[in-house]
């Protein structure tokens, strides 16, 4: 193992990898700092460029973008009271009051330090937890894999937003779109044109769905640009202030790791949970919300603490924990790497390189934040009327460069319109994405299992691993139904009271 790690260290410590990580961190911070641009957008926009990079460099670039955007969200949250990403929403509560008091720089520094510590602890947990989980999962065949995928699809319930029904509709759309093209036995499905015979590319669908709707929304609704940023002001973070928040940072990091490793929970929940715990236990709890550094530290350490941990189920089981890891799953597949237990058997070198590279990216995050916090603050003021049209053109060039196919560009534009219509109809896009990526794997394993068993459905229940995943799936569905029922009852009670 140690020899392999040393070899991986040598493989990662190259100039192209460092450039990719630095570019990813800086790019991610810039995109995360711009309100309306999300980490998912950052990762999907970079996908076309990864085609020209080696697999490990590509994944490191995407991971760096993820981490950078998670931290970047705090910049606009602190300076213009607009969280750049959903996970930074909690940082607004104390970050903006601090900026109003002329302590914007101090808040940014605390956000950076706590983000880096959370990120580092998360990476270490990835290193130690992913491999044992994968070794256990090595015993799975097509039937067990089918059950695992069925369990993965239940994540749709937790990323459906306000309506489970609309979430399932979205997932059905994604599953249906994934069937376009040739199936495993050579039959064509929905191949209306010649181009559709090879199916729809993951990248144009993802970029269209996540990057373009924001542009169309801006053109249709024309919101006012109101990004007046506060000044950085007092910039120094003292040792006493750091020590005062250390407990919350460490607790937030652990909360981030635990909640990040559970598929479907995500950094926003971790940030709010960590913040409420810090507020409950801190001696300055009553000052939370008025500009307390500990509040910034609690939320930022938790949301960055999720970054490495969400990779645990992705690498070990091939289960994406959230939307960004869903995009990364697509990136792995594009490069011929299939996340899951076999990755640890067939591509252990790449896995170790990834672990080492991810540790390096924490250092890059710290350096990038320290050197360029002032410049990042200005970036949050770039008007969206200039930025979003340029992003569309960048997407068009990027998509065309992948396969020199005008069809892919058309898919991108159509998916942008579909994404906007879904947004208008309140249909969440995240279940669509997860279903579109997992759909083919789910179907292939189901059909393979049934072919092996000569149509006997009992094949899905032959091993205890299948039973375990089946039980988890049933448990998750039962909990979701219970939650929805409680929500419905509460709503009915409120309606009856108001009547």
């Amino acid at each position: 193992m140690w020899n392999e790690l040393l070899y991986a260290f040598e493989a990662v410590a190259t100039l192209p990898n460092f450039i990719a990580m630095a570019a990813g961190i800086w790019g991610g911070v810039i995109i995360g700092a711009i309100p309306g641009m999300t980490g998912t957008m950052a990762v999907t926009l970079a996908l076309p460029f990864t085609f020209y990079l080696p697999p490990v460099t590509s994944i490191l670039l995407l991971v760096a973008l993820y981490k950078g955007s998670t931290y970047g969200g705090s910049i606009s949250a602190i300076l213009i009271k607009t969280p750049g990403t959903a996970s930074a929403a909690c940082t607004v509560l104390d970050g903006y009051p601090l900026a109003q008091q002329g302590k914007g720089g101090k808040a940014l520094n605390m956000a950076l330090v706590s983000s880096c510590i959370g990120d580092f602890i998360s990476n270490i947990s990835l290193f130690f937890l992913a491999m044992p989980l994968a070794m256990f999962a090595l015993r799975v065949g097509p039937p067990e894999y089918f059950m695992l995928m069925a369990f993965s699809l239940t994540i749709v319930a937790s990323i459906s937003g306000r309506s489970l029904v609309l979430g399932i509709i979205s997932a059905c759309l994604g599953l249906l779109l994934a069937t376009v093209g040739e199936d495993i036995y050579g039959s064509f499905r929905f191949a209306v044109t010649e181009d559709m015979k090879s199916g729809l590319g993951v990248v144009p669908v993802l970029i269209g769905l996540f990057a373009l709707p924001e542009l169309i929304k801006m053109i249709v609704f024309r919101p006012e640009d109101n990004n007046a940023a506060m000044k950085l002001g007092d910039n120094r973070l003292t040792m006493a202030e750091f020590r005062g928040s250390l407990k919350s940072i460490l607790r937030g990091s652990v909360i981030g790791v635990i909640l990040g490793a559970i598929p479907g929970i995500g950094p926003s929940t971790a940030a709010f949970f960590s913040y409420s715990e810090a507020r409950r236990t801190s001696k300055n709890g009553d000052k939370f919300g008025e500009g307390e550094l500990e509040g910034v530290a609690a939320s930022e350490s938790a949301n960055n603490g999720c970054c490495g941990a969400t990779m645990i189920p992705l690498l070990a089981l091939g289960v994406p924990g959230d939307v960004i890891t869903g995009v990364m799953l697509g990136a792995f597949m594009i490069h011929g790497l299939t996340p899951g237990p076999l990755l640890f058997q067939n591509n252990i070198g790449e896995v170790y390189s990834l672990f080492i590279g991810i540790l390096f990216s924490s250092v890059f995050l710290f350096v990038a934040g320290k050197l360029t916090a002032g410049a990042f603050a200005k970036i949050s003021r770039i008007p969206q009327t200039l930025l979003l049209p340029c992003i569309l053109v960048l997407c068009v060039f990027g998509i065309y460069s992948i396969g020199a196919s005008p069809f892919d560009v058309s898919v991108l534009l159509v998916m942008g319109v579909v994404g906007f219509v879904m947004m208008i109809l309140n249909i969440p896009a995240a279940p669509f994405l997860i279903a579109f990526i997992l759909g083919p794997v789910f179907e292939d394993n189901m059909r393979r299992s049934l072919a092996i068993s000569r149509g006997d459905l009992g094949v899905f229940f032959h091993s205890w691993i299948s039973w375990a995943f089946f039980a988890l799936t049933v448990l998750f569905i039962a909990l979701t139904i219970r939650r929805e029922w409680q929500k419905w009852r509460e709503k009915s009670r409120n309606t009856a009271q108001s009547a």
């Binding site: 029904v165 509709i169 059905c172 249906l176 039959s187 499905r189 929905f190 249709v220 200039l386 960048l394």
Partner: protein, 176 residues
């Protein structure tokens, strides 16, 4: 009852999945005469998905009914009135659709770079905010050319020059 957004979403989803199940699958998913082993036919999975989608669409309509009942009658607005009230938004959305369609059509005709320059100019115009005209004009010209240079130099992508441009160049060469 006031039809709300969830009601329309359910209606659209039901209609879409019904259309796929009863029209598209029979036409565009061909079942081969021989399937190896006992593998399920290729139309099995799309049928399962569309049936689930159809049921969910109907459920979305059913769940929207209590909300619609709860809404006061004086706020009832027909779909026509709703569209009339939002006509500006609909015109802008149609503008986006026209712009995208025109780009997809024009790209092979006039070439990739001129088409993207026109697309970018069109999108800037559609934003309705002209307070940074100089930036808009500069970016419209410089940004696509810069991207063209980066992609042709780094990734060697063969961007389409356009039938029109190729024809003019060919005529010009013939003339010389």
């Amino acid at each position: 009852m006031t039809p709300n957004r969830d009601f329309y979403t359910g209606l659209i989803a039901t209609a879409f999945f019904a259309f796929v199940l009863f029209v598209l699958i029979p036409i565009y998913v061909k079942v081969p005469s021989f399937i190896p082993g006992f593998a399920p036919p290729p139309d099995m999975w799309p049928r399962v998905i569309t049936v689930v989608g159809l049921v969910m669409g109907i459920l979305a309509i059913l769940f929207a009914i209590p909300k619609m009942r709860a809404t006061a009658n004086d706020r009832v607005m027909s779909i026509g009135a709703t569209m009339h009230r939002n006509r500006k938004l609909i015109v802008r959305f149609s503008g986006v659709l026209i712009g995208f369609a025109a780009f997809a059509y024009a790209m092979p005709e006039i070439g990739f770079v001129p088409a993207t320059i026109l697309l970018l100019a069109y999108l800037f115009l559609m934003t309705g905010n002209y307070s940074r005209k100089i930036w808009m004009i500069g970016l419209t010209i410089v940004f696509p050319i810069l991207l063209y240079l980066v992609f042709t130099e780094v990734t060697h992508t063969p961007f389409p020059e356009g039938h029109l441009f190729s024809a003019i160049t060919a005529d010009f060469v013939t003339l010389i």
